[in-house]
Symmetry: C2
């Protein structure tokens, strides 16, 4: 039996295990040995493997894994160096691993790129495919990324619920909701959904792609207060001033990758507004729940198909590729899976196109045609003792 290795990397999503389940499903049904690498490529370097054929005993296990949020194999944030490549080749040969599928975002695609190029250069009979995932939806050459639909649904749902909550009082309030997205505002843009669907939602949506202009926002707020008492603002964590500096940047703090630390932009905006408005102003950060909570059935099913497609592609000796989603139609929603060169995806960032962004911190309806199909449907979750039932691999 030929052996497939699968691992997960980067930040978790609610759909990342659906892709894993798809890989396992294809492998088991087509008689491949399937093992999992724990804690991504850094775990693989330590030969931290588990036998997934044994862990997943039946379809029931597979269905539970499919709806389990957060990377069931664990994750890492590790950039490969050249000596790692040699070491991984040695491990793959010793462990008899012929096929490798890495489920991840930008950085993980860089890993797939480096590994597959190294195997090609050395004429090794080993093949690598990337399966995309990220709630940020910031990968190029794919209509959208697995995991985004579920996160977008959580954002839309939360904005709707917050909008209903703040609507209970008849006096003026301002509420800010801070949403993940350092360079790409796709997730924050999802805050547009409830307003279009129910007429209750975010009044203003400020994206990482926007130029943040406090005076412009203030004028828009004042105008809106003439019509209604409560104002809801959705902001990307990565909003910037015209000169490109982050609104929330703390220049004294730099992370391991050299990125300036940005945090609590909602609190920063609240402090600015409190100087001009003597009102109850609240800032809410959706935080980790964005990537671990509500799921879109469309997203879960697509993520599963992507896992199956990645497995099928890699055992057919495709390498140095990433699975991508091509949208054929918005309504009825229809997509097709393709392979794209992983080198063209690695380390690049997709942004919300300017044509969708209006000048008054709102998005136009055309963007809804893109977003809405991705949040449809609710997967069936089993509960025990009041908590959802998930699958543990580690």
């Amino acid at each position: 039996m030929e052996k497939i290795l699968v691992a997960q990397s980067g930040g978790p999503t609610s759909a990342i295990n659906a892709t894993l389940a798809g890989v396992i499903n294809y492998a088991k049904r087509n008689n491949f040995e399937i093992i999992g690498g724990l804690y991504g490529i850094s775990g693989i370097l330590n030969r931290n493997f588990i036998d997934l054929s044994k862990k997943i005993k039946n379809d029931c296990d597979l269905e539970t894994l499919k709806i389990t949020p957060s990377s069931a194999l664990g994750s890492c944030r590790y950039k490969l160096n050249n000596s790692d490549l040699e070491k991984i080749l040695q491990i793959f040969k010793e462990e008899n691993i012929k096929y490798f599928i890495y489920i991840g975002g930008n950085d993980s695609m860089d890993t797939v790129d480096k590994l597959s190029e190294y195997f090609l250069e050395n004429n090794e009979d080993i093949y690598c495919i990337g399966a995309p995932k990220t709630i940020d939806n910031d990968l190029v050459l794919t209509d959208h990324t697995p995991g985004f639909g579920s996160a977008a649904k959580f954002v839309a749902d939360s904005i709707y619920k917050v909008a209903r909550d703040i609507d209970v009082y008849d006096y003026k309030t301002i509420t800010i909701v801070e949403i993940m997205g350092r360079e790409s505002g796709f997730l924050t843009a999802s805050a547009m959904i409830p307003k279009f669907i129910t007429n209750m939602g975010a009044d203003f949506i400020i994206l990482s792609e926007d130029i943040f202009d406090y005076n412009k926002l203030k004028k828009l707020i004042d105008k809106t207060f003439e019509k209604k008492p409560n104002i809801l603002i959705a902001v990307s964590e990565g909003i910037k001033y015209e000169d490109g500096t982050y609104v929330s940047e703390d220049k004294t703090k730099v992370d391991n990758f050299g990125h300036t630390k940005i945090e609590q932009v909602g609190t920063k905006l609240k402090e600015m507004l409190l100087k001009d408005y003597n009102l109850p102003i609240r800032s809410i950060e959706l935080s980790i729940l964005q990537r671990a909570s509500i799921q879109s059935k469309v997203d879960i099913e697509e993520s599963f198909s992507i896992g199956e497609f990645a497995a099928k592609s890699v055992v057919n000796c495709n390498t140095s590729k990433m699975v991508s989603i091509e949208r054929l139609s918005d309504d009825p929603y229809e997509v097709k899976l393709n392979l794209v060169d992983v080198s063209k995806v690695a380390n690049k960032v997709k942004k919300v196109e300017k044509k969708y962004i209006d000048n008054d911190y709102t998005l136009n309806k055309k963007f809804l045609n893109y977003l809405l199909p991705l949040i449809q449907g609710e997967p069936e979750i089993k509960y025990k003792n009041g908590l959802p039932v998930y699958f543990d691999l580690k």
Copy 2:
């Protein structure tokens, strides 16, 4: 037809409209006229009424209202003064209102108390009953409060998801989750559930009832790091030092009721920990979603029954009472509804009993017997376009 007036007050919950639906259901099936006061007692003072018999056309409307979070009639935070009492009597007489049900927390029970005493003193044929609600579970003379079970379920669910999320990396991290509750830690205590049920959850739970001792916490953290890399701490927003000052208090800010402003205790704790630990430390505030999101079916059904019981009690000329829940059995879970004197509930605060709180910032299993029945079951929610379908009354 005799007329019942119903209104809602204080902070919203996920179950407050289930109680409203119960009141409407009883009224319609027993041929009472039923009107709603918008924006609580302050709206009633402005004769801001709607005809609920007309708004709720059928059982389908009633079922949708039942699972709609946030006060559908709007809310207020208003303390009655003596001239208001006279004005309300006049309005009730002119509008021919004989029965009044007020759905709310501590302050609302004070309103029910004052109004019913005033009507009694003046020998008026008008009757007032309070229906409890609060996510804080801090009302006395009732086993628990409607709305608490749903909020507790959201907290348990969120803690479980956060615990799974932080478990994906194999390096040390500390995560703090800040939970609502200024004086009562019931909601924070719900963070105990996932650890007991799934073995993944909060390592430490610091309640408003606890004395916050940073050095004690630090020792517990160090000991836990010997066993596992990621630590999850749940804290009540109202945690206090031994001398009674809030950990997060900002003495420069005092609200309209004279309460010192407390906010972002999670961030405060994070800053303390960052001085001792050079690790990724994150603070998450569950915020408004605690009272507007996930629902417990037990809570929704109980809240509905309480609405029906309140209506039945008031039209039988009970007055100056609040509906209370008496627990008959934990397993099988069984309760009975009673009436208690509203004057004995108003302005009092129930706290988590000391016998349930262990000395190492954890709660013992006995408290689970109390909590667990309250978070059982998931009400059926309809979705349209990817968002839940709710009912609008205003």
